[in-house]
């Protein structure tokens, strides 16, 4: 008994969870192949899943900084995403330029917005329990999306990229704009990974996450780091918003749909873990698409939540969570 138990403990401590998760994806692929009897459909589901998953990770990336590092349950993330959509829309409709030109603008604008929100509001609730910040960001989310409603009205808007066509990838197709967004997710993940791991700011952010008081005692301006981190996290929503604008219907509540999914991705990947967010975003995308093929008549989200709970049971700290 003792050896068996020792074995399981050791097995659980090896990064086996990602392996299991990837195994699960393969099982799903096999099942989808059997169910649909079509390689084309399954191939398309995998590609779409990957690409959509990229979008989810894109959104989760900023959230994992804010939620995972600052411990703020930011319900306004989706609303910030909508702001980025409208910034892009406004830019394109006034200049007529290619939407991708708006990328730096969206990033800068959202960084400013996030930093402002942290500085003016959230910094005053530092150290308060989870739920009061949750309520604050909930209020912020309502505020932002209804200000957008006042400014732009409730009608759906869109931003088109000229000549956006399907690209053939091994028999499956995906739109260029979606592939660009997927690429953006990879770049952003790499960027954040390097930022957190290699830069002075990154070290300060991790230090603040590990011990706020300790960070103050080595001379880090904790509030400034909060403002910068929240700004950065929101800037990620800015990048995400611009990148998904070409294939999204733009409304003041467009971001809400992604909010919860982004939280699921963050928790699944382990709080504050950028790489975890990337991988679990992709897992969520794949489960959603393959689940759609497998469970006809059931919402694919059911499968996503089921997988989420299974992962939590197997690894209560998320797939890549390091905290004990």
């Amino acid at each position: 008994m003792s050896t068996a138990e020792a074995l399981t403990t050791r097995w659980r401590s090896v990064p086996a969870a990602p392996v299991v998760a990837i195994g699960l994806v393969f099982v799903l692929i096999a099942a989808a192949l059997l169910k649909s009897g079509s390689g084309t459909i399954t191939g398309q589901a995998v590609l779409t899943g990957l690409v959509n998953g990229g979008v989810y990770s894109l959104l989760a990336m900023g959230l994992t900084l804010i939620f995972g590092v600052l411990d703020i349950v930011n319900f306004a993330h989706g609303a910030f995403l909508a702001v980025a959509l409208f910034v892009t829309y406004q830019f394109v409709s006034t200049t007529g330029a290619n939407p991708y030109v708006a990328l730096p603008i969206a990033i800068a604008a959202l960084f400013a917005l996030g930093a402002l929100a942290q500085w003016a509001l959230l910094n005053h609730t530092m150290g308060r329990p989870l739920e009061s910040q949750l309520l604050l960001t909930l209020g912020l989310s309502l505020l932002v999306s209804n200000l957008l409603l006042l400014a732009f009205g409730g009608d759906p808007l869109s931003v088109a990229v000229a000549g956006d066509h399907g690209v053939n990838v091994l028999g499956a197709v995906a739109n260029q704009t979606r592939l660009v967004a997927f690429g953006g997710a990879l770049v952003l993940a790499a960027g954040l990974y390097l930022l957190l791991g290699r830069t002075r700011l990154g070290r300060a952010i991790r230090a603040v996450a590990a011990s706020r008081q300790g960070a103050g005692l080595v001379g880090i301006d904790v509030r400034k780091i909060y403002v910068l981190t929240f700004g950065l996290g929101t800037a990620c929503a800015g990048a995400a918003g611009m990148l998904i604008a070409p294939f999204t219907t733009i409304t003041p509540t467009a971001g809400d749909q992604f909010n919860i999914l982004a939280f699921v991705v963050v928790v699944m990947g382990g709080l504050g873990n950028v790489a975890g967010a990337l991988i679990s975003g992709i897992i969520v995308g794949l489960v959603e698409q393959l689940g759609g093929v497998l469970l006809t008549g059931q919402s694919p989200l059911f499968g996503v939540f089921l997988v989420f709970i299974l992962i939590l049971v197997a690894r209560p700290q998320g797939l890549f969570g390091a905290r004990s």
């Binding site: 649909s36 079509s38 084309t40 459909i41 398309q44 589901a45 590609l47 779409t48 899943g49 690409v51 959509n52 979008v55 209804n146 409603l149 009205g153 409730g154 009608d155 759906p156 808007l157 869109s158 088109a160 066509h165 399907g166 499956a172 197709v173 995906a174 739109n175 979606r178 294939f247 999204t248 219907t249 409304t251 003041p252 509540t253 809400d256 749909q257 992604f258 999914l261 698409q289 759609g292 093929v293 006809t296 008549g297 919402s299 694919p300 989200l301």
Partner: protein, 390 residues
């Protein structure tokens, strides 16, 4: 706490309040505001024409309520309006909200004219005070199958098989079931049936690939605006060999901005929906007035809301009373030509359904959804087959 809340202040002179319940905030705010505008326009027009003549020219007054798209908010707003003495209610856009308001109207004996809400179930409980202007979901499904069979046959390319893609709630499922029953009668196989969750969907490429793999000649789509656009984009990416993409009660394919949002590939898209009767001078006048006042073209929802107020006003003329039960009886006898497509003047059956409401078939022609069928209402010819993107 007694029934008949409207009898109190109503009869004794002053304005007659019309309560509206629309989603003015939240995800459906765009449509909700259009419908609210439709109500305002109707009230203005009626007041300008001298108010309710049978009641000494008393004027109508709007008492607005915002449902925020939430059923419980809708109901408590309705409760508030009723106790503030509204004579009738108009609303609500979403079926779940209407389903919440209908029993309240019933218990308070306040007539409730549903401008938009398609779910069959709302009026299946024997309510006496609820009436519906738009064709209900099963009517859409049935008409949709009929039209599709007729136009494909007329074009000499009868359909053996169609694929059906619909959102998974009661709306999509209801329309689908009615369509399938009718289509199978006409010898059309409906396969595969593919569903999606409209609230969370962000891409329909896989689903359209399933359609392509199935070899169906046409694709029928029932859903909301956002997912309708997603479907169109997926069709243009996957390029399934289809004779037609055919919406039924689709929230997107008949909308003026749909061709812009979906791009040139949207050309030729069909939709079976309620629609302004473009051949009626009244409807044209309405559209111009709306455009002049609100700076954008009206959607059919605005017209249905406009007509709802007209129905109430006309009933007031006949009932000569704001008493709920008398007004209700008068509404039940409505005989009024609507601005939307119809098979005759508005006629409410014993369930309160407008039995003459007629779905139109529109097609995107020159980047504009245009009525193409039935022929007597058409302003353009049906193009069939209409391979998407062609």
């Amino acid at each position: 706490g007694c029934g008949g809340g409207s009898t109190g202040s109503g009869n004794s002179g002053g304005t007659i309040k019309i309560g509206t319940l629309h989603p003015l905030t939240g995800p459906y705010a765009g449509d909700g505001q259009q419908m609210e505008n439709g109500v305002k326009l109707a009230i203005d027009d009626i007041n300008a024409a001298g108010g309710i003549k049978a009641l000494d020219g008393r004027k109508l007054e709007l008492a607005g309520g915002d449902t925020q798209g939430k059923p419980d908010v809708g109901q408590s707003e309705a409760q508030r309006l009723v106790t503030e003495g509204v004579t009738a209610l108009v609303g609500t856009y979403q079926s779940a909200v209407s389903a919440n308001v209908a029993p309240l109207a019933e218990r308070n004996k306040v007539p409730f004219v549903i401008d938009i809400s398609g779910d069959d179930g709302i009026l299946s409980h024997g309510y006496k005070y609820a009436f519906r202007m738009q064709p209900r979901n099963t009517v859409f499904g049935t008409a949709g199958a009929k039209y599709l069979q007729e136009i494909s046959k007329a074009a000499g390319k009868p359909l053996p098989k169609v694929a059906y893609l619909h959102e998974s709630t009661a709306f999509g499922t209801g329309v689908f079931k009615a369509f399938k029953a009718e289509a199978e009668k006409a010898g059309i196989t409906v396969d595969p049936e593919i569903t999606y969750d409209a609230a969370s969907v962000s891409d329909l490429t896989t689903q359209i690939t399933q359609v392509k793999a199935s070899g169906a000649q046409a694709l029928v789509v029932t859903g909301y605006y956002k997912d309708g656009v997603l479907a169109a984009k997926a069709v243009s990416t996957v390029k399934p060999p289809l004779d037609a993409v055919y919406g039924i009660a689709n929230g997107a394919f008949d909308q003026p901005q749909f061709p812009t949002d979906a791009g040139p590939a949207s050309a030729g898209y069909f939709d079976v929906n309620y629609h302004l009767n473009d051949k009626s001078p009244e409807a044209t006048k309405f559209a111009q007035a709306y455009q002049a006042k609100y700076g954008q073209p009206p959607r059919t929802g605005a017209a249905l809301a406009y007509d709802s107020v007209r129905v109430i006003a006309a009933a007031l003329e006949r009932s000569k009373s704001v008493d709920g039960s008398k007004l209700r009886d008068a509404i039940a006898d409505t005989d009024l030509t609507p601005l939307t497509l119809n098979d005759g003047p508005i006629t409410f059956d014993d369930k309160g359904e407008n039995s003459t409401a007629l779905p139109a078939l529109t097609q995107v022609v020159n980047a504009k959804p245009t009525v193409v069928y039935p022929a007597e209402f058409a302003t353009a010819k049906v193009t069939y087959p209409a391979a998407p993107g062609a």
